[in-house]
Every structure is written in structure tokens, then in C-alpha cells.
Amino acid sequence: HMADSDIEYDEQDLAAFKDEATAWFGENTPRDVDFMLPLTFMEVGTDQQFNFLRDWQNKVYEAGYLGAHWPKEYGGGGLHPAFQDAATRVMAQMRTPIMLNAIGLNWTGPLLLDRGSEEEKQKYIKGILSAETIWCQGFSEPENGSDLGNAQTRAVKDGDDYVINGSKIWTTQGNYADYMILLARTNPDAENKYKGLSFFLAPMKGAGVETVPIKKLTGEYGFTQTFFTDARISADCLMGAEGEGWLIAMQTLEYERGARAGQAGGHVMMMSDPSDIIRLAREAKLNGKPAIDDPAVQEELVALMTEARSLGLNSRRDKIRPLAQDRPMSLALGSKLASTDFYQRLNAFAITLQGTRAAYYVGDDSAHDNGVWQRGYLNSFSATIGGGTSQIQRNIIGEHVLGLPKS
């Protein structure tokens, strides 16, 4: 469906493209913004942040550095994936602001391109890239945090509509979203809980849809709970056939886990660069000396840098067949656990380098780096809990990679 990654492309074109991108971002990346920019798409808590990022994504798209490898006919750039990869790498290296429309760019978009109807592609792809239409995700429910297959939100066929009732939680940007990819139960009597589920591209602005912002443990916002009360959506919103919901949802999660390619590119999370903690260790004082002079601190810093390097090495090794075949899927399925636990450990350790100033939080003049470490630590739980907790990840690896019996 998209520029075949096996076809040839001109290395010189790619180099030129990369130089242009570097120049463009050098020129256009917003400098000294006077409010805290979200580090991830799950931290968009104010209109100011939302509007800023929406404009930024649109600008990047217009410049041709987002969806550069998506088909031209739907609004993409029609280039070889290597070009988007190059642009994405430039953004990461220059630490430019994140792309706002994460669910659209990384989940809905590739899903539609892989298995959407022609109409669906025509209707949605461009808006996803331009951030004109914001997408959110409706899988988890309050009572079934980890047990997606048990979703209870009902969708009842009624003439040309489905009537939706129920509640979804952890909807990122739910209060801004135009559409939700919704996992709902169309047949409560199906032979098993999975076969009763269907997948919808559901409008959020209609009647009977209410979103309530959730206050995060950081004290900030970024998620909503979404309530459906007799919300009517057109039957056209059904993706695939009734009963295919679980199948489609699982494919969607593969995009999230990076087990499937096709994402629009650009980074939607800005992991704090591991070298930031070394800078902190040089600035922060422990017992009157720079923390980095402490051998025990050095040992943990080295362990962290080693860990950080292994994350990158694992994903590169995964592409070297002879080094990745002993246990297929091991490196791919292990990456979420490794990276999210690492990020939590990194931030927790950073706090212990700050002496009495560990007590400060975002917004205090005395806080190191304006409290980004304290806040980053608390936010790190979104990754160790969301998208399958670290405990669930260990089950997945134990059962699907190591072949152990189910718990």
C-alpha cells in the first residue's frame, strides 16, 4: 500500500533531503517557549499546550517531514520510508517539540492504510497528518484496566446507527479529540468474550458523549474518562465486520509496540536524554561536592548509561537475523519492559542526587531543572502501567518468548 521499502532510492536524494530537514528544523524549531511543553502526548493538559502543538505538527506536515512515506493520494509525501526515518531522526536529535496527534499518526493512520476502505483512507488520512482531526483511543475501561478483551461498553445496532452506552478511561486528549478508535461489544452472547467485540471509528463531538478530565498523580491533566450515554453513531463507523473488533484492536496494539511498521513518523514522546542526568550529577551537590564525584553515584550512573545503550543496541540487533533468531520476538516484546523500567529507575535515581532540593517540585525556583526529574518519575508510571503493566509484560515475555505455561 505504501512506497515499498524494497524498491531502490537514490542515496544522494536522501542525503539532500536530510540536509534540508536539518536546515528547516534549525530555522523553524520554536525557541524559549515561556510555558512547560509536554514531553509526551499524554501530558497535554492546557489549551495553550494543545494549540501550540497542533500548529507545530501542521507546520511540520506542510514542510513535508511528517507522513513523507505515506501515499500521495491520501495526503502523504509518497517517498521511500527511509526519507521519513531521516526526518524523524533529525527531530529526535534536535529535540524538537513532539507531534500532537499521536493516536492518529501511530495507530489509526497505519491501521487505515493497512486495512481501511478506500473511503476511510480518503476521509481521514490527511486530517491525521495535518492535526486538523485529532484522534483518541477507547480500549481500556475502568473495571478492566489490563483485561481489554473483557470490554463491556455496548454498541447496539439500531437502523442505520449504532447506539453506544458505557465508559472508557485513559483517553488521551479525549477532551480535544474529534474521533475515537472504539472497542465495543456488539454481541454479549458470542461464544467467547473476544468474538463479541467490534471496532468503530467513532465521532466524539456528537450528543451523548461526555469527557471528564482525569487529574494525574503529577497534579496535571492529559487524560479523560469518556462516558457514552445513548450516543448514536452512523453504522458506517464500523470498521471491518462485527466481531472483528478484537482482531483489529490487537493489530492496532502491534503498531504501538512497534511490532508493526507504518507509523507516520516524528516523535510523540521526548525521553530525557540519559546524558541529562550526568549534567545533573555535575551540577547537584552531595555533601558539599558535586554528586558525580561520589564513586557509588558513578557506579549507578555507569549502570544507567549501559542500560540506555542496550536499549538502542537491542533494537539494532533485532534487525541482524543471525543474532536475533534463538528466541523470535524476544527483543521486540522485551523492549517495552526494558525501556519503561529503565526510565523509571533513571528518574528515581536522579531525585536522590539533589540533597535537600529533592524536596522541591515543578514550579519552585529551587527545584533542579524546574522539577523535571520529580515530575518525570511520577509520570514514568504511565508507561509502566499503561499499555499493559510491567507485570503483564513479564507474563507476555514468559509465555510468548520463553514458552512458559500461563499463570
Binding site: 487529574k215 503529577t218 497534579g219 551537590k285 555533601n287 536522590t352 515543578v362
Partner: protein, 378 residues
Amino acid sequence: MSAFDNARMAPRIGLSEEQAQLLEVAESFCRDKSPIDKVRALIEEEDGFDAALWSDIAELGWLGIGVPENYGGIGLGMAELVPLVEHMGRNLMNTPFVPTVLAAQALVRGGSEAQKEEYLPQVAGGAAASLALCEDHADWNLENLTVSATRQDGQLILSGKKYLVLHAVAAQLVLATVALDGQAALVIIPANALAGRIRREKIIDDTQRAYALDLDGLSVPETALMPVELAADALAHIEQAGALLLAADMCGGAYACIDYTLDYLKTRKQFGKLIGSYQALKHSIVDAHQAYEKARSHLYSAAHVFGEQGEGDMAVHMAKAEAGEAYSFAADRAIQFHGGFGFTYDCDAQLYRRRAIMGCALYGDARYHRRKIAALMF
């Protein structure tokens, strides 16, 4: 050698009758006076504590526990304060209690006769007080001082800023450490002198209150200076006393947050099973519980031998290090094991976790105290 002896010497622990009584009283008092909804309501209040509760505490005589009888106190020691603070910690109770009793300890050990006669009865009677120790360098060593005082015709002129002064706005007197003629000293600053010099700080623990004090150019009479020859001993005492009480608060918090998490593990179902039946959660909460029990043994051992040469210091260092790690681990897992709910502000796990970070930041974290032990042992 010393290490050898320390290892051979059976560590001691005990509980005085007074401790036992206070433990019982504190358990029900703190539970009744500090239910979680009240804790959350106080978060929204500017001062963050309940004045009525404060006078209850004063009436119970708890503020005089560490104050000698001849200065209006009850004449008990730090050991008897531990059960109280432990249960305040269990219930996330927040009042100026800890800074006030620590200020009292500073006066008892470092004050002149006149100062003790003037201030100790006030404090024992319910006047809140606080200590201004922390500075911009973020160092836990109380003798590392950049804030200074200079004599000028009968006055002391102060310069510099102090940080993390707990409940400074509620305090009727603040004892600040300053460098005077290159020596560590303590000066007593009355509340009125601090008008316009107090800034509320944004701290990680929403249940507590800390303030920055701008002392630049502030002048106090020389009579506000506490005897310089007593300062070193007083500071050493404050460091130990502060670490002991923070350890008590954190031990209490560790217990409460394990308890809070257990309730969830016993009622929340996933995949049709109570999540507490999954060993991933069960075994790790057991580890948290074991660490808590360990920390609590060190806490009451430290209370029991507090003040003893060598053995007393060692026990306090261990108690603070263990309590800080036990609380941090328990609260970290508490957030994780509450799943999606744990990521919300509505879940209490984050209150405990934030308080644990605060507790480690005050009077030294585990690494700091282990270094002190190493210095004593090796």
C-alpha cells in the same frame, strides 16, 4: 575493631511504659483526627493544617514531652516522641509538631538560661516553632553555612536565605543557623521580624508546608544569639533528633501505604481473579512488608539507645536509612500495583510516595546515613 565490637554487641531494643502508653493513645488519636478526606481537604488550605487539632495536641501535653519539667515540660525524651510521630506518619497527619519539638530540643541543648526560661514554656504550652537549617547548597551537613551574621552595635545583621523551613508562617519563633565569626551559631528570630520575608515553596509533598526565608539585612538583638559554645553540641543533637523523628514518620507511612495497597489487592479483580493472588504482586508486597518490619525494629532500637555515645548515633543512622528505603519502595510499588487508578491523583499511593521523597530529603537520605555509619565503623 569498632565494627567487630558493633557486630558482636547484641543490638538493644526496648519500650518504656510511657512509650507504650503514648503508642496506644497516639494510635487512636491520629486515626480519629486525621482521616484521609481531612488530609485531602487540608491540601487545599493555605496553611495546610488544622488549628483546632494543633490545640488538641498542645492540650494533650505532647509539645512538652521533650521539655524538662522546670521549663514547663514533662521531662521525657526523644524516645517518647517516636510513637507519636510514627502514628502521625501512618495517618499522613500534618501539623507543626515535628519542627516545633525539634526547635524545643535546640533550645534545651543550645539555649541560655534566660532563653530557655523565656521560650520553652511557650513552646511546651502550644506556641509553634521551627528551625531554619537548609541552604541553597542542598547539603545535609548542618555546619555547612553560607548564611551569616555580623555584629553591629548590639545587633546581629543577617545575610542570606534559608530554605525548607517547615510551617514558618505558623511559627512564633524560628531558630536559624548562621555563621558567626566563621563559627556555627543559632539565632532566635521572632515571627514579627519575618513579615514580608517568607515565600511558600512548591514542594513535592502536598500534605506539608515549607517556606523560604529571606534573611538579608534582617537585624536581631544580640540577646537573640544562642550561646556559641553550645552550638556544636546542639546542632549534633538536632541532626540526630531530626533523623529519628523523620524515620518515625516514614515508618508509619510505610505501614499505612502497605495496608492501603493490601486493601486493593484483596478486592480488585483482573482476569477473573483477585489481583492479590498473583505472586508478582503478592511477593513484592511481602518484600515491602519485610523491609518495613526491619525498619521498625531499627526505629525502636534507635529510640531506645538515643543519645548513647557511638551506639546511639549508629542506631539513628540505620533507622533513618532503613525507613527511607522501606517507605520509598513500598510507596513506589503502591502506585504500580494500583494500576490505572494508581496513576490518578485520587489514589492515595502518590500522597505516600511524595511524602517519602520529602522525608528522605530532610535530615539525610539512605546513602548519606550509610556513609556516616561507614565512618563510625571502618
